[in-house]
Symmetry: C2
Subunit: 581 residues, 2 copies
């Protein structure tokens, strides 16, 4: 899409504001610094579609007559989506008037969802066609897509085009053409259920918010030092001893509930069980799996800043691999549609291993010399187990970075950067290197959204939210040195909300609307990169998320409408959107 | 209280954990960094009382028989407090068993609240005796205080001593002696209702949370550039034109509701109406009050980074003072018990004034030369008006700092610091100077809690939440150079939650439990200053706040109980604590 066209579209949508004032507006005044950028139409979609053309005139929707239907019969994905979108089309508690005073030609009758494949897919795949088209013309709308996943993207965008006018009509541009597809196929979000427990209703709202921002992978960090909330049928002691309490667990039913909730929204759920480090909770169930760390000849000694008393798996023990094979098989069976398991492998410090006489002997007996050899041994074993049970593997970059030869086909998560680890190269270095070596990679290094930081970005002629400005300006290919083939191996990125200081009290408001900024850079054209304009569209989107019960926090001064959190018409914590019985 | 004694008390409370495991526990594991400090008893009060002695053995409470009563008849403060504390004593949704299996001697029968003055005070005053004593002995408890405000502090501490044991009994140490008083009489919290609107239910929950942390002044920032939410009966145009929308206002009834909500909890409400800067919203109602800023000879011109097109009051206009007199009279009548009005006066840049030919003429006609002269003129007028209507004045430090001679009796808010303004002296300089000149002062400079920042404080032998560590280590008298008389003029401090990026979605979870850290330094003895121990007590307190419906966010890894936000037994957003109809 050309830059000129984009500019034209912005203007077209803008004019809608001029015609009909709406409930959602913002104000931003900094006496000495101006807020630059083009104010947004109330129904500007987020992330910005690749191609969008919309007329100035409006057509109206009558909730009692408007229907959305699909060319697929008895397809759970589309059937349930159509049902799910009803309260998104017609926000509960807000007044919507019947447009019966308008001429029939100005009332939208229906939207047909047409799946070209005529197939009701079961589970989204990285290589699926995620594109869709929308046309609205002469009182009829149509969403076309190759498959149901593209159709879900189209339905989400369509829902965003609706808005409530100042005189309480539900409206949409009378004539709309959208052609849209993602820039990156993998748009992930990591939530950490170990450092604090995140109750199922919070996870469901997070998944809902993901779908409103076209994220399509939920990376579920399910184990760490602090707790092991995943109930295993084969190894119940994992939660009996490793969970915070019997109330702080995900039962098999909970896990299926989450997988299904995400699947119906076109979102994959990739579980992460981290090892051989970050396993203190595992060690509470299976103390024998952990390495005793030594101080001189004394076992079970912490040398702080180097290692704890016991913190990593003893890679020399056969029972570890026996356990891992059985456990990963259970994981594979549980996440039955998902080809990938994330195996962690980050932040292993060999100091503890090397302090242990048994491991020193193992090294000698096996002609090994150092921690990398041990990690090679471990990762070969574990990746081999994963392969043997039919799972594909994702890992954090650490073993690869330390010189372990990972089989091609392993997806590498790039999380290291100078900003996080002062002695580390920048993430662009790792990204270029891993993709050039043939690995598919996912970038999370610049998107640590747990690292919240208050601030304004001020120049003499502009003020913006510092974090938004920062993230919105990140381009994944900045300083990329790989060739075109390598470029294609950067499959996308993940925002992360590590859980040290996050639980059900603040998980949603901390992540949103901040994660939406990243979402646009992962979906939209590289040309859509003007943060001064985008901040206004994002503010409109944050109001939209509020109307859908997500307590998305503001990045601009101002207001949304009478449905803000804490107001009588607020949808935040309304049972329809909050999943709390 | 001696340091030895404090240590002893910590140990005594600690043993309670050994006897009865409780629902609230924390875990914190950082493989390479230890968490130091003494784990807390589940019923450790926050902030730490000045003197506390508690026995190891427990007594139990039967919700059906336990009564709290007072020696005052028909006193709204005590009567309503006793009623209000019922769901705090007996957290709804949690199981509490009747202690009928215990011997009667182990069941607490009653607590008498004894007000020595025998007076039902109406509104708290800075100089009130805020102290209280608690004794529990032989199945009877007693809270004694000079006045109702001290009694409220005692009731809050008493409520914190209760805890639910692992076997679901409501318990308290069988024998307790507490003598307690605040280190500083003024413990304030500023909330900003202009940059975003904070709905009444959110404000009420904030006030509740203040009372759980012994804050006693709600500084309500009610006007700024962004919006004017305060409905004036005399000047309805203020909100008609200055509010975000008719839904984003505080009606006179709302304001009385807030004042009363705070008053019943021993909390003063000090309104702030900021001028002559931060008045863009006022200017929407009264454009004629603002100064046209010039660029050369052209009026109404922004020169960004210096001034906007119009941003400050025209101090030469009589109608401004006429308005201010009428408006401040209304404010005084509205906040009828509160002696102080905060008049703002911060961040006025004279560049705009001096660019305006009319003001240049005014300067010349009145033998004035600069912005300080204009500010002197304005502050003399406004402080004179305040005095004439019987109000006492608080202002931010700016006019005093710029050389304006403020009358003694004006309370000065110290907010400037090197960390906020690189060219500024540190806050300790301002504090020493203002108090030495005879001004009562309130410190907010180091307590800008809107400036959230993720981080861990790590040394080789300890890890802590960075923000908690930072705030908990601030002593208000650090680098203080004033004499003893000056010391007494530092009446306390205020935490601030400026509203640029805060609204109902995140106001509560962003402020708490962070503001609790400051609360302890404002209330407790200077000796209570060990953050490694305090973090555990604070974590227990954060669980307590969760049980009371406040979505207080964690500062440690771990968990509280089955009542966390998002869980079925959560009290967060339960109608009893959330005030949403």
């Amino acid at each position: 899409m050309s830059h000129t066209l984009h500019f034209f579209i912005s203007i077209v949508l803008c004019f809608v504001i001029g015609i009909h004032r709406v409930q959602s507006e913002i104000t931003y005044i900094e006496a000495r610094y101006p807020l630059r950028g083009t104010p947004s139409a109330p129904n500007a979609p987020w992330p910005q579609p690749q191609y969008l053309n919309a007329s100035l005139d409006l057509t109206y929707i009558d909730p009692d007559f408007f229907i959305v239907y699909s060319n697929l019969r008895n397809c759970d994905i589309t059937d349930k989506a159509i049902e799910r979108y009803q309260p998104l089309f017609y926000p509960p508690k807000l007044t919507i008037r019947s447009p019966d005073t308008f001429d029939d030609s100005r009332v939208l009758i229906s939207v047909l969802i047409e799946i070209r494949s005529k197939k009701c897919d079961v589970y989204p795949d990285l290589h699926d066609d995620q594109s869709y088209n929308i046309t609205i013309e002469n009182a009829y709308g149509k969403i076309t897509a190759e498959n149901v996943w593209g159709a879900l993207n189209g339905l989400e965008t369509f829902s965003q085009l609706l808005f409530i006018t100042e005189d309480d009509y539900l409206a949409i541009n009378a004539s709309v053409t959208i052609r849209d597809w993602p820039r990156f196929p993998y748009r992930g979000l990591l939530l950490d259920s170990s450092r604090h427990f995140l109750p199922v209703p919070i996870l469901k709202q997070q998944i809902d918010a993901m779908s409103y921002n076209k994220y399509n992978v939920f990376h579920w960090h399910l184990s760490d030092d602090q707790s092991w909330p995943f109930v295993s049928k084969k190894f119940p002691q994992l939660t009996e001893k490793g969970a915070f309490s019997p109330d702080h667990v995900y039962t098999p039913e909970d896990v299926q509930d989450i997988i299904e909730h995400a699947r119906l929204r076109g979102i994959r759920t990739i579980p992460e069980f981290d090892s051989p480090g970050h396993v203190a909770a595992l060690g509470r169930a299976f103390p024998e799996f952990l390495t005793d760390c030594y101080n001189g000849s004394t076992p079970n000694q912490a040398i702080y800043s180097k290692h704890a008393a016991r913190e990593i798996i003893d890679v020399t023990k056969d029972e570890v691999y026996k356990f891992m094979k059985e456990f990963l098989q259970e994981v594979k069976d549980t996440f039955k549609y998902e080809p990938y398991i994330h195996l962690g492998m980050d932040e292993v410090t060999p100091a503890c291993w090397l302090s242990n006489p048994n491991i020193q002997k193992f090294l000698k007996d096996n002609n090994m010399t150092n921690g990398t050899d041990l990690m090679t041994h471990y990762s070969n074993k574990i990746l081999g187990i994963a392969k043997s049970i039919g799972a594909k593997s994702m890992v954090w970059q650490d073993p690869w970075d330390d010189g372990v030869k990972l089989p091609l086909g392993t997806v590498i998560g790039i999380w290291k950067d100078t900003s996080l680890l002062p002695d580390s190269p920048p993430w662009s270095y790792f990204l270029s290197k891993a993709t050039s070596e043939g690995y598919d990679t996912v970038l999370s290094a610049p998107f640590y959204l747990n690292m919240i930081k208050y601030g304004k970005y001020e120049t003499n002629d502009s003020v913006m939210n510092l974090e938004f400005f920062h993230w919105y300006n990140i381009d994944l290919f900045a300083n990329f040195t790989g060739d075109d083939a390598a470029r294609k191996r950067l499959i996308g990125a993940e925002t992360t909300l590590w859980g040290e200081f996050v639980d059900g009290t603040n998980s949603l408001s901390r992540l949103w609307v901040r994660a939406s900024g990243v979402a646009e850079r992962l979906w939209s054209s590289i040309d859509v990169n003007n943060p001064e304009d985008a901040q206004f569209r994002l503010d409109v989107h944050r109001c939209r998320m509020l109307r859908r019960g997500i307590p998305a926090a503001p990045i601009l001064n101002g207001y949304c409408g009478p449905y803000e959190a804490g107001m009588k018409q607020s949808m935040v914590n309304d049972p329809i959107f909050s999943y709390i019985d």
